[in-house]
Symmetry: C2
């Protein structure tokens, strides 16, 4: 049980970071929730930054691996030159399913992970952004490449923006899903789970991807 300390730290850090952000979570609350000595973090991870990167790596590693596999299987199967909403739904569906599978396999909450990603972008944490793009940039680009084939109407720059709009939709929705679920249960007495939210998001993203590319709203 020598490395149980490391896992306990990672488990505690994950939920605390997701709940209160990286900066607002102190090492002391993490180590106390993990029932571990304060110095253990610096001993095993070097620094708080090291811990933050380790927490994200533990999820993003399996995720990108899973995603890569499913994407290349999809690429070699069919749908190659087809254009349409169904193919877009399929691609976003692969992304959604990858997230859910990895979350389920590793006993993690998808909402927690989405909040982590959101934190990585909304809080400054320059080191994290660099680490993520360096480590997982290629998987990112692979997904973009496949998606690009089903959005041939627009040029590269227009696609770039459209892609990030959709990414924002996904991240923001997932990361605020827990509080939205709570509001929704209180307000409409209907409870939603992440599966339903994901299904809905896939449809929304696939439709949004096909919005016209020019025009003025004035």
């Amino acid at each position: 049980m020598t490395s149980s300390t490391i896992d306990r730290i990672l488990d505690a850090a994950e939920v605390e970071f997701a709940a209160h952000g990286f900066v607002e979570t102190s090492l002391r609350t993490i180590t106390s929730k993990a029932k571990v000595n304060l110095a253990a973090v610096n001993y095993h991870f070097g620094s708080k930054k090291g811990l933050i990167q380790a927490v994200t790596d533990r999820f993003l590693g399996p995720l990108t691996q899973n995603l890569q596999a499913q994407l290349s299987a999809y690429e070699q199967s069919s749908h190659k030159s087809t254009i349409g909403e169904q193919e877009l739904q399929a691609l976003f569906g692969i992304l959604a399913r990858s997230c859910q599978q990895v979350a389920q396999q590793n006993q993690h909450s998808l909402a927690v992970f989405a909040r982590l990603i959101n934190m990585a972008y909304s809080q400054s944490q320059g080191h994290l952004r660099k680490h993520l793009t360096y480590q997982y940039g290629s998987s990112f680009l692979y997904f973009m490449k496949l998606l690009r084939q089903h959005m041939p109407v627009m040029n590269n720059e227009q696609f770039f923006w459209r892609f990030h709009y959709l990414l924002g939709t996904l991240v923001f929705a997932l990361s605020s899903s827990e509080s939205l679920v709570a509001i929704c249960e209180r307000e409409y007495e209907v409870s939603r789970n992440l599966d339903q939210i994901m299904s809905d998001l896939v449809l929304v993203m696939a439709r949004a991807a096909q919005a016209p590319i020019t025009g003025e709203y004035k």
Copy 2:
């Protein structure tokens, strides 16, 4: 020039908060950038929380006022029972134009403001969220009500979720617009301004609002 101190503090706090978040920005950096004594913040705003609320109020006050006016003008004009993409575009366009107008009138950057809103939701800051819903909740609901009339296919709960997806798209895209613009200029040698981004976002949101409401992505 007695209240110039207050304005200088607000100006400095606004850009620092947007750039580095509420927690990672210290009162000392704010007061030094504002060329004001450290104690001035506690004297004029009571506390750091008070300053945070004042910063958001300075933008959200004029914004909701502007938005309310334009919305009621729109409501009394026409389009009342019509359904379609054009009406959705019109409503989102009103929201977009309100944001831009207020930003321009008060010499503020829209991206800075969007980042503030994003911070208010992604960082814990429970006091801010309470303050915002208490102060500006009605304007929020008014916009929702009008939008609801043009999305009659879905029930209230489905609309609730769809609405927040779109909101996430807007906030996330605007708040990360500055870094995306930079990447885009380096990568594609094309520069976009916020007007173009807003136009595009309006089209995307109007299209996404019409996505089908049920179905599985598996």
